[in-house]
């Protein structure tokens, strides 16, 4: 009896399952031949350095299309310039959603810009996927189910440093330099939370700077004169290089923690002077294209070939090009998982069910995992220390993953 029933059941099950598989389901922006993806990036204005990310993503999808697309569908990546101005982002995103009718918004860049559109995207139920900012608020699956971050958030990273300081130098006197905006303050908050209640005692000096300032020399002198022996450097590349140089030149020798944003060997430490950067501690999750460690790494070789072929104008020392490549690969995976059900609902569902997905441009041991309540794709980082030539990873991969 049992034996007889089995094939019947199998056929029945297949019959039930098959229509669901065969039936293609589409939301606006998806069809048999195309998937439309929207994006905003600052290609003009003072923040145009980030425009490299948009260009790298565009190049990535050109490569994908040349390989035959995703499940046979070509990716149509539509990216608009918002000049890092939130009102312009709102306008451009409405154009993407209402006029171009994209399936999803991907890697829109900037904390203020994404804050400006978050409500709209969630009201419209259009995925705001893998936003290009490390603010902590993009991991809130409950209040904003249509918004998801990608990179480790600033607060998590800052807590990793705080923990390391507490372990290695519990009596540290800490000085902090931070950019006076949402990014700098998010790091600072995470850092203070990580130090716990004793942060008031431990942090002996804080100095902020505006991006319009020519140098941070004055701030470094202020921090130095506080007598601090630990320095947490929350700065973007240009100011990071200045701060590293100024700290060294003024003879200040603190234990130097540098945020991930600026840990590129080629575009930060080298301009600052490699000998001045010895001993810097930072944390990483993607491979640095200018770090000699990865000179013969097959993944980075593939990346360099990709750059040569699809993004020849791109700067090979610019870590944004690896970032764009890696995040685009993540989206490719999500869309692959979607199969023929290219609905906005399913995109979010698939984005929230990545299980230890590996991209080989990420550091060894770092994988992407998400869940219905876990909207923080990358949560692991590893501490590394600069030896004058390259970064040396130390300790274990530190993860916030539950």
């Amino acid at each position: 009896m049992k034996r007889k029933l089995l094939p019947v059941a199998a056929v029945l099950a297949a019959a039930l399952a098959f229509p669901a598989l065969a039936q293609k389901k589409y939301d606006p922006g998806a069809s048999d031949t195309e998937i439309k993806i929207g994006n905003t990036n600052p290609y003009s204005g003072p923040a145009s350095a980030y425009g490299a990310i948009g260009k790298a993503i565009n190049a990535y999808f050109r490569m994908v299309n040349e390989r035959g697309g995703i499940n046979g569908r070509k990716v149509n990546f539509i990216s608009y310039d918002d000049g890092y101005s939130p009102p312009k982002t709102v306008e451009m995103v409405r154009k993407l959603v209402e006029q171009d009718e994209v399936l999803l918004l991907f890697q829109s860049l900037g904390t203020p810009s994404n804050t400006a559109i978050q409500k709209y995207m969630n009201a419209k139920k259009v995925p705001q996927l893998f936003v290009a900012t490390g603010a902590t608020k993009w991991n809130d699956a409950k209040s904003f189910p249509w918004t998801m971050g990608w990179q480790p958030n600033y607060q998590t990273e800052a807590r990793i440093y705080a923990r390391h300081i507490l372990q290695t130098k519990p009596n540290a006197k800490i000085a902090v330099l931070y950019q006076n905006d949402d990014y700098g303050k998010d790091y600072l908050k995470g850092f203070k939370d990580g130090l716990g209640p004793q942060h008031q005692k431990m942090i002996v000096a804080e100095a902020s700077y505006e991006v319009s300032e020519p140098t941070v020399d004055s701030q470094i002198l202020q921090l130095k004169s506080s007598g601090a022996d630990v320095f947490f450097n929350i700065t973007t590349p240009k100011f990071a290089a200045q701060a590293i140089r100024a700290a060294y030149d003024t003879g200040w020798k603190p234990t130097h923690y540098l945020n991930n944003v600026s840990n590129s060997v080629g575009s930060v430490l080298k301009p600052a002077g490699l000998e001045k950067a010895v001993g810097i501690i930072t944390s990483a999750y993607v491979k640095d294209p200018t770090d000699k460690r990865w000179a013969n790494d097959p993944a980075m070789k593939t990346w360099r070939e990709f750059m040569a072929k699809y993004n020849p104008d791109g700067d090979l020392s610019d870590p944004f090009n690896v970032y764009g490549y890696s995040v685009a690969a993540t989206l490719e995976q999500v869309l692959k998982q979607c199969g023929d059900t290219l609905t906005r609902d399913n995109v979010m569902k698939q984005a929230a069910s990545l299980k230890r997905f590996r991209i080989d441009t990420l550091l060894p041991g770092i994988a992407i995992s998400t869940g219905p309540n876990d909207y923080a794709p990358i949560e692991a980082m590893q501490l590394e220390r600069f030896n004058g030539h390259e970064f040396e990873l130390f300790g274990e991969v530190i993860s916030n993953e539950q």
Binding site: Y43, S44, G45, P46, S48, G51, G54, K55, N58, S79, Y80, D81, G83, Y84, S85, P86, P87, K88, V90, E91, R94, K95, E98, Q99, G110, P112, T115, A116, Q118, K119, Y120, N180, D181, D182, G184, K185, E210, S212, D313
Partner: protein
Amino acid sequence: MSKKVVTVTILLIAAACVLPFVVSNYRTFQLTLVLVYAIALLGLNILTGYNGQISLGHGAFYAIGAYTAAMLMDQAGMPYWATIPIAGAVCLLAGFLFGLPALRLEGLYLALATFALAVSMPPILKSHLLERWSGGVQGIVIVKPDPPAFLADVGIKLNPDQWLYYFALAIALVLFVIGWNLIYGRIGRALIAIRDHHTAAEAMGINTALYKSLAFGVSAMYTGIAGALGAIAVQFVAPDSFTVFLSITLLVGIVVGGLASLSGAIYGALFIQFVPNIADELSKAAPWAVFGIFLIGFVYLMPTGVAGAMRALLGRLGRGKLSPPKEALP
């Protein structure tokens, strides 16, 4: 006003009323922004075009208006429409007060003082002193207003975008009518006289100090109202929305649109709203380069702005009945 001008104006307004039913919601939103910019440019034009006081800092008044509206809605739970006059009043006062010391400054010096104002605005908005109300670096997210219930009761169905467009259109019309009366009346003549010949104006008995600070105040009021409307339309304010580039964009708007011209404000608004988008479509590699070429091209072809070119065109066609104040600037 000649009959022809009246007819054309009425036709244009009628067209503006029909637009939201012809175009998509997204376009309606863009047009709302055009109206917002037109109001701001009209304000700047009163000061710079008609009174000859240069301002590189009107983005600051736009920001004050926007933050006033946002904070009142967010902190005090005030309805959006009530925040508009308050934003206007706050900026009127701010502009007037800024105008007082500015009386002693002219040309380059005024340019520096206003430039300084524009540069100072983001750090002030971020400052820990104001953080509790301004939201600091995070800014404030505000709710988009729905069309009022009474419209639905009488059978007019509008979506929020359309409603906001009409709301902005109504305010713009009121402000343009006030502006028209101001400029073509006694006050306007005084402002222009001060611009064209300061000493002579003073000799004629015009209280130049009063008029100049008043021009600053009214100008800031217009721009502040525009800022409030802009904040409501965009539903978000943050220090990053009001950088010095906003001020420069506004200056570009009045010059390209046409200095000392009411219609110039509208042309300028269309330019600053749409030309950057065109530049972006043309080049992802260097959109600003394309925008810059547009800018220089416009100034070459129309040194007195689009409004000036239109006037010349109409004049050449032999119906030059529009005779607004002349363009000359100090």
